[in-house]
């Protein structure tokens, strides 16, 4: 644990108003930290609350009727839970860049790419208008778009999926933010493009020392570019582990996620699927939420209790009750 | 016990999206139709009888008062229900049937020339505002409700045909139709069993909203003196007649107008309710 992380999330609980009286908790007890210049992989199945967590970092939960019910959310010493509009104005787009989940629907359909880049660039009021085009071309070059002059004049429907994604990244890095939140930036793209985007994010981190939260379903894909992996299941963070140590994971869910894709490195690795469906929001089992799907489940896992992350190694935390018995 | 579960079912049904709209629209419609049957047929007066002083105000015997010729306004207002809704029903169902059939035929047709010819005809007819083409055709057919029904049948089908053709083309490309074809079902069977129900659900939905438009057109044409002819009681022409006597009695236009609104609003609540139910919001 570092003394001064860029982002610190502690026991964060996000709820959504279903009706007037009824509240549903979508995320509860999410905890992790991000240090400057690190890439954190946030991983979990669909519905585990990854997007909600990302939105809490940019303050757009209320648009979906959700809100932070408890916990701590601190960005560079600023309490984001209590942040007013004026604080957000200083943070959004300037200090935190965001690449939305459905990046294919991310660009504005009624503005040219150039206009959107200009908009992102001019978030800095002092930026000279005459240099906007030059800076736009520079950004498009950074994200490795070919023929940037043409792309500036195009609309989003004229671009391929990979290009849209690159444009969204270009907009996100326009102000050289300290943190980029990339919510599944590669979903829906083909494999070669996925690898290129990963490479691009790595390069950006290297060149600008930006921290990145990289959300994905695909643990093997992001594992090599991330420093740390945070695993989410059913609204909770169940393990935080340095990516180098992923094979020594002490949580059955992480292990299952890692094995659920054919490992390209080890041809003998078997394709496994995770048992059953993730428990749906509101129907979380008492005790360990993975207990119903876990191969290692014991009675003690089903007892109603909170399962905090336990420090079990340097920078390695898990919530599994039986971590010391788990060995591959 | 049984009643109780029925009531509970009903309450669940109402709570679904659009349930309240459909329910209130249907209730309003049923009320005015019942009044439209009872009052002219079993009420004390005839819609064309002179029963008292012209412009007599509302009284116990004549709740809506009397019109400019001393006829009972309530009887006249409610005998219009059958005229307006009846003519509108014909004016919607004829184009509905004609348009749906033509649309399905076009959706299946292969002949390029026929397709583009009829397609252009449809576009051409739809280019005119319905009221305008109706007014123009009345010149040659002569005024009257019968002419209006004929005109609606020969112009309004084009709107249904457009919807039906689009739908038919989509349906004919769907898997189960392809499957039916490969299974060797006859063309007739495919059209009757698969195509028609699918296409007509769409055109019938449009017909419901078209009903409002058609009521407004019928009463509007009558208002212009081109539809219902005296002494027929009809909302549009009653309002047109009342126009000259606004200072004597506002009821002459208010009662038929409100009845007209009531019917159209009832239909529009139903239409909106159904569309909300379909979209599930």
């Amino acid at each position: 644990m570092s003394i001064n992380p860029l982002v610190s999330i502690k026991d964060l609980k996000i709820e959504v108003r279903v009706t007037r009286a009824k509240r549903l908790s979508i995320v509860d007890s999410a905890s992790f930290e991000i240090e400057s210049g690190k890439i954190i992989g946030l991983i979990g199945e669909s519905g585990s609350g990854k997007t909600m967590l990302c939105r809490s970092l940019v303050g757009t939960l209320d648009r979906r009727g959700a809100y932070i019910a408890a916990g701590q959310l601190i960005f560079d010493g600023i309490d984001l839970i209590a942040a007013k509009q004026s604080v957000w104005n200083e943070i959004r787009g300037k200090r935190i860049g965001y690449v939305p989940q459905s990046a294919l629907a991310g660009p504005n359909p009624v503005m040219t790419i150039g206009a959107q880049l200009a908009e992102a660039i001019l978030q800095d009021e002092n930026f000279p208008k005459s240099d906007v085009e030059k800076r736009s071309l520079e950004l498009l070059n950074i994200v490795q778009i070919r023929r940037p002059e043409t792309v500036l004049k195009q609309y989003q429907h004229e671009l391929s999926g990979g290009m849209k994604q690159r444009v969204m990244i270009a907009c996100a890095i326009a102000q050289q933010p300290e943190l980029i939140v990339a919510d599944e930036p590669t979903t829906g793209l083909d494999v070669t493009v996925q690898a290129e985007i990963m490479e691009l994010l790595k390069q950006i981190r290297k060149d600008f020392n930006t921290s990145i939260i990289l959300v994905s379903h695909d643990l093997p894909l992001i594992n090599e570019i991330c420093d740390d992996i945070v695993v989410m299941h059913a609204g909770t963070t169940v393990e935080k582990i340095p990516s180098k140590l992923i094979k020594t994971s002490k949580h059955p869910y992480t292990i299952a996620l890692y094995n659920s894709r054919i490992d390209l490195v080890e041809p003998k690795g078997q394709l496994k699927t995770i048992n059953g469906q993730p428990p749906s929001v509101g129907n979380w089992p008492a005790g360990c939420r993975f207990s119903e799907r876990c191969d290692f489940v014991k009675d003690k896992c089903r007892v109603k209790q909170d399962l905090p992350l336990i420090e079990i190694g340097s920078n390695h935390q898990t919530s599994c009750l039986r971590y010391d018995e788990i060995a591959r | 016990m049984k009643l109780k579960t029925r009531w509970a079912n009903f309450k669940d049904w109402i709570a679904l999206p659009g349930g309240f709209g459909i329910f209130s629209g249907l209730t309003m419609l049923v009320i005015i139709i019942i009044l439209g049957i009872i009052i002219p047929n079993f009420g004390p007066y005839n819609s064309d009888d002179f029963v008292g002083e012209p412009f007599a105000g509302p009284s116990l015997k004549h709740p809506f008062g009397l019109d400019q010729l001393g006829r009972d306004l309530m009887t006249r207002t409610f005998s219009s229900v059958g005229v307006d809704l009846g003519v509108a029903f014909l004016g919607v169902s004829l184009p509905l049937v004609i348009g749906t059939v033509i649309g399905i035929v076009l959706g299946l047709a292969k002949n390029k020339y026929v397709l583009s010819l009829v397609g252009s005809l449809i576009d051409g007819i739809n280019a005119f505002p319905l009221l305008i083409i109706a007014v123009a055709m009345l010149t040659f057919l002569g005024s009257g409700l019968k002419s209006i029904v004929i005109i609606l049948a020969i112009t309004n089908w084009a709107r249904y045909a457009r919807i039906s053709r689009t739908r038919a083309v989509i349906v004919s490309k769907q898997n189960y139709i392809e499957a039916a074809k490969t299974l060797g079902y006859s063309k007739k069977r495919i059209i009757l069993k698969h195509m028609t129900p699918n296409v007509s659900s769409e055109t019938v939905a449009y017909a419901l909203s078209d009903f409002i438009l058609v009521i407004i057109i019928i009463s509007g044409l009558s208002f212009l003196g081109l539809g219902a002819q005296p002494p027929t009681a009809e909302w549009g022409s009653m309002i047109a007649d009342g126009r000259a006597f606004l200072t004597e009695s506002a009821g002459l236009i208010l009662f038929p107008g409100l009845a007209l609104c009531w019917s159209a609003v009832a239909l529009s609540f139903i239409v909106e309710g159904i569309s909300r139910r379909d979209r599930g919001i």
Binding site: Y98 | G124, V265
Partner: protein, 318 residues
Amino acid sequence: MPYLMKSQALRILIGRLGRALSVSFWVMVISFAIMRIIPGDPASARLGAGAEMEAIEELRKTLNLNGSIFSQFTNYVMGLLQGDLGTSLQTGRTVIDIVSSTLPLTLYLIIFSTFFALLLSIPISTSIAWYAKAPIVYVFRSVTAVILATPNFFIAMIGILIFTVRVNWAPVFGYDPQFPQNLKYLWLPILVNTLIMTSVISRVLFSSVTETKEEEFVETGIIRGVGRRRFFWFYILKPSMAPTVVLLSYMMGTMLGATVILETIFSLPGIGRELVNAVLTSDYPMVQGILLIFGVITVFLSFTGDVIAYLLDRRVKI
């Protein structure tokens, strides 16, 4: 590449223009056919049973009813190409002359109502859709549904009851074409039209804003920190405008039809009232000519609407 793109947009617009022209052709065919598809001879119908043979023959000639259908049509088209829409049987003036003197008033009526309706619906529907407070949405939907279900002549009559019978603010008889005085006669019909158009437009705009605000790019805009005014225009209004513009152009056509009734009620000398007069006096060339004009205007309106929608939002298929 930019050259290619430009030509793509251009190709789409030219394609749409081609369709507008072909529909115009069919509009012309229908206006031509309308006098001929109905059983019986229009000339003898107009002159009545006791008419002389020569008079009927004379009228048939004026109405271009002699010769084969094909030659009649050629005559008709040749006339149109020379700007000849025929001559009114009632007044002896040329149809084109009457149209050009009555059409402007009708167009003013529509243009002003459209303008005010847009001015009202944009703030109303965007704010209701954006904040989406259930009771307000409910009231909004019900009120507009009721207005739309009410025929324009009834709304007009209520307006007259209030503003003409009680206080003489809106005279129903006579008309003064001079600029400031004409407003006295025009404001109530414009108000009635505006009310109806506002209901139509704001309903459509409401549903498209409701759809737009759920889209991912809106969130992207918020997170990018776009300023309020820019956000309103580029992230809410502009992406929602296309369906509204398409509908608006269609509605203006329908409204054009509805002015027939309004002009009769308020005795305004517009083209709509002219049409009703022509129908009542069996003035066939007038009916035919006005029908054609209405058709062509409507086609042109919907062409313009589609083009504007496309320019606003390239996702639109036209």
